[in-house]
């Protein structure tokens, strides 16, 4: 290196607010992303509640048509670009270095830079509400020519385009640091096939991010140019080309918001079944197969265009049932033969498995073009993807959150409040989204502020459900608040877990591991150690049932 400049070893972070903001420790960067993502989750959730209030009865009661268009656009954009995608990556940013026995993430400054870029993107998107024409109002993906400056004039839409581009770029940078960590920073002995299940799901996730997110950044840059200069997405070809670019990102991102939670649920299920994950190698193969297929299914969003080879995308999309089926088999087989302990993380994990199934099976239905010809663009689709993203991914996130919260903070969450919030959320999710299958099937389209009076009752039911979801989320927040105020110390390993992060202190020190790492003998090193110590006896922790 020129001049022989030495890079100083990272100093322990200063306790000031500025020090916290500038700290490059992966755990702090992950916490910043998670806090920002939670902020955007609550904002976007409030937008959903306003929508459900409007939709509770036919007719327009609270908002205008245009406001409603902003609401569903910003709700969808907020949840996807600013909440589920970044929070999934934040979980990886926090856990992957710990799980592979690394002291830091690779390229920690890049990860921090990614956070700031993402935050700027989120603020840009939401600041559209302060402009004359309001925030973006052309759905979470926008279409052309609708999103041209002529059809959707205004700075708010530009802020949306810039915001989405930045948020996606920020997520991309964070994902790159996770991928590099897995490739470069695994501890000695941590071979690829000894990485925990969660790390494998993150590896698959970051592959998809690296392959698809740059396309979206470019698509947003082109869309901005189209709005101000024009001549890029001309005519029918341009309109279809924009959709191709968007969905080339838009479908893989769905699995980016899913895989990390499969991994989290896998860890939770094996820990609370007191058993190592079943079918590890089959899972690895299925994840890689899933990742490969995920890059070849985007056209199933375009079946009704009559402009893509429907049969090809139908085939690739339905083939996803094979790796998905293996994942389900492995999760269930991990429970079978176990000694299952019902703590809050396990409840959310089971909720994820069963509710996501409804989203997955209806996904096979919409992967068949003649069936999609009916349900595309209807509330059936809204029901389908909320079963995957809310009843699925959000439950998976909460499983992981309740599981790793003691590790991240050193304090346990309240068990009774946690279980209560789970049941309230189950009630809310199903009451909100199950009626939407019938609404869509009977002819109610998406993205409308008003609907035919015959859909009134089911919509009312759905709106009541949304209230329960809000209540459940408030209970989760209350749980966090109470548990941090009156701390019940967690200790290093409150659950009898299996992976490396549970061998260090809670929260982990600046460089993650104070003492030497335990021997890395498999993807469940702590379980190996317990089994070696107590070959014939009941493993510790099984009696810790609540």
């Amino acid at each position: 290196m020129a001049g022989g400049a030495q890079i100083a070893a990272p100093a322990p972070p200063a306790p000031s607010a500025m020090g916290w903001l500038a700290a490059t420790d992966h755990k702090r960067t992950a916490a910043k992303v998670a806090v920002a993502a939670t902020f955007f989750f609550l904002l976007s959730g409030v937008l959903a509640l306003v929508m459900r209030a409007e939709l509770a009865q036919p007719g327009l009661q609270f908002v205008s048509d245009h406001t409603y268009d902003e609401l569903f656009t910003m709700h969808g954009s907020g949840m996807i670009y600013l909440f589920l995608t970044p929070v999934a990556l934040a979980l990886g940013l926090y856990l992957v270095p710990l799980q592979v026995g690394a002291a830091q993430v690779a390229a920690p400054r890049l990860a921090l830079f990614g956070f700031w870029i993402y935050l700027c993107g989120g603020l840009s998107m939401y600041s559209g509400f302060l402009t004359d024409n309001g925030a973006g109002s052309d759905t979470w993906g926008a279409t052309l020519p609708l999103a041209s400056s002529g059809n959707t004039p205004g700075v708010g839409m530009d802020l949306w385009v810039i915001g989405v581009g930045l948020a996606v770029l920020g997520s991309l940078l964070i994902a790159v640091t996770i991928l590099l960590t897995i490739i470069r920073l695994r501890a000695p002995g941590m071979t690829m096939l000894r990485m925990p299940v969660f790390c494998w799901t993150m590896l698959a996730t970051t592959f998809m991010v690296v392959a698809s997110f740059p396309v979206m950044v470019v698509a947003m840059a082109l869309l901005l140019a189209e709005r101000h200069i024009g001549g890029i997405f001309d005519g029918a070809t341009g309109s279809v080309a924009y959709q191709q670019l968007f969905w080339f990102f838009g479908h893989p991102v769905v699995y980016v918001m899913f895989f990390p939670f499969v991994g989290a649920v896998g860890e939770v299920v094996s820990t609370f079944s007191r058993k190592r994950f079943f079918g590890y190698r089959a899972l690895v193969v299925s994840l890689l197969l899933f990742t490969a297929l995920s890059m070849a299914v985007w056209g199933h969003h375009l079946f009704i265009l009559g402009a893509v080879p429907n049969q090809y995308y139908s085939l690739t999309s339905q083939l996803l049932a094979v790796p998905a089926g293996i994942e389900y088999l492995d999760l269930i087989a991990t429970m079978i033969g176990g000694a299952i302990v019902f703590r809050t993380p396990m409840l959310f994990a089971v909720g994820f498995i069963l509710q996501f199934l409804i989203g997955g099976l209806t996904g096979i239905i919409v992967a068949s073009p003649p069936l999609d010809y009916h349900v595309n663009g209807s509330y059936f689709i809204v029901a389908h993807f909320h079963y995957t993203l809310l009843a699925g991914s959000l439950f998976g996130l909460l499983a992981g959150f309740h599981y790793w919260f003691p590790k991240m903070t050193g304090a346990m969450l309240r068990e009774r409040l946690g279980k209560l919030s789970f049941w309230v959320l189950v009630l809310g999710a199903n009451l909100t989204f199950f009626p939407m299958f019938f609404l869509g099937f009977e002819g109610m389209p998406r993205r409308v502020a008003d609907y035919a009076p015959r859909f009134g009752n089911l919509n009312l039911l759905s709106s009541i459900g949304a209230g329960f979801i809000a209540l459940g989320i408030l209970m989760v927040l209350a749980n966090v608040f109470v548990s941090l105020r009156r701390r019940e110390p967690a200790g290093d390993d409150p659950w009898g877990a299996q992976t490396l992060e549970w061998s260090t202190s809670s929260p982990p020190p600046h460089n993650n591991f104070g003492a030497a790492l335990p021997a890395i003998t498999s993807y469940a090193p702590l379980l190996d150690r317990r089994e070696a110590e107590e070959p014939e006896r009941e493993p510790r922790g099984a009696e810790a049932s609540a």
Binding site: L144, V322, A333, M335, R446
Partner: protein, 206 residues
């Protein structure tokens, strides 16, 4: 004569639903069994078995066979639904912000309406109708829920399809591609008539 999109849809949908419900019942039962039977009790020791690749391969093969079956059925049905031979009755449909224009070529008949005044166009109920669909401005989508069918309306491009309306009466249709401010109100009605009534309707609208 080919079946209408409605019957084609019902046949395929009930097949997917039957398999979907079967799988759901199986998974719910397996999870329920695991949670009840393998819950932690005083003397339960967790099994140390963690790999059975024969089961993995078996399940993967089974799912592959189901997928192969479903995809084959999908392709067969789609080929029938997508085929759009020339029919005696052709209607040119143009979607626009925020309404619809239906032109009967060679008949001198045109129906037009917007979000304030929903258009109603007539079709003969006893023969297939050939549609040519396009858009005048942004993307729209032409959905008739009763026929279980929709197609995108793309500016600068024409999509062609056949629909076979069977039962006489009125069906409602609407736009399902978000297209701006009055998207919610972009509706139309289809009046399915007997051949004789349809001819009278055409004559009355010339």
């Amino acid at each position: 004569m080919k079946a209408g999109t409605h019957q084609e849809f019902e046949g395929l949908f009930s097949l997917y639903m039957a398999i979907g419900i079967g799988v759901a019942v199986l998974v719910f039962a397996a999870v329920g069994f695991a949670l009840v039977h393998y819950r932690a009790r005083g003397d339960r020791r967790p099994s140390r078995v963690s790999e059975m690749n024969r089961i993995e391969i078996g399940v993967a093969t089974l799912i592959l066979l189901i997928v192969a079956f479903l995809v084959t059925r999908t392709f067969t049905v789609e080929a029938r639904v997508d085929s759009a031979p020339k029919e005696p009755t052709t209607i040119d449909v143009t979607a626009f912000q925020w309404g619809w224009r239906f032109v009967y070529p060679g008949q001198g008949v045109e129906v037009i309406g917007n979000s304030n005044d929903e258009p109603t166009f007539a079709v003969p109920g006893d023969e297939p109708v050939h549609f040519k669909l396009t858009s005048a401005d942004v993307l729209h989508s032409f959905w008739i829920p009763g026929e279980r069918f929709k197609r995108a309306a793309i500016p600068g491009r024409t999509n062609e399809f056949d629909l076979d309306f069977e039962s006489e009466g009125t069906e409602d249709g609407l736009c399902t591609e978000f297209c701006g401010l009055r998207h919610s109100d972009m509706r139309f009605n289809v009046w399915v008539l007997s051949k004789a009534s349809y001819r009278r309707w055409l004559a009355a609208h010339r």
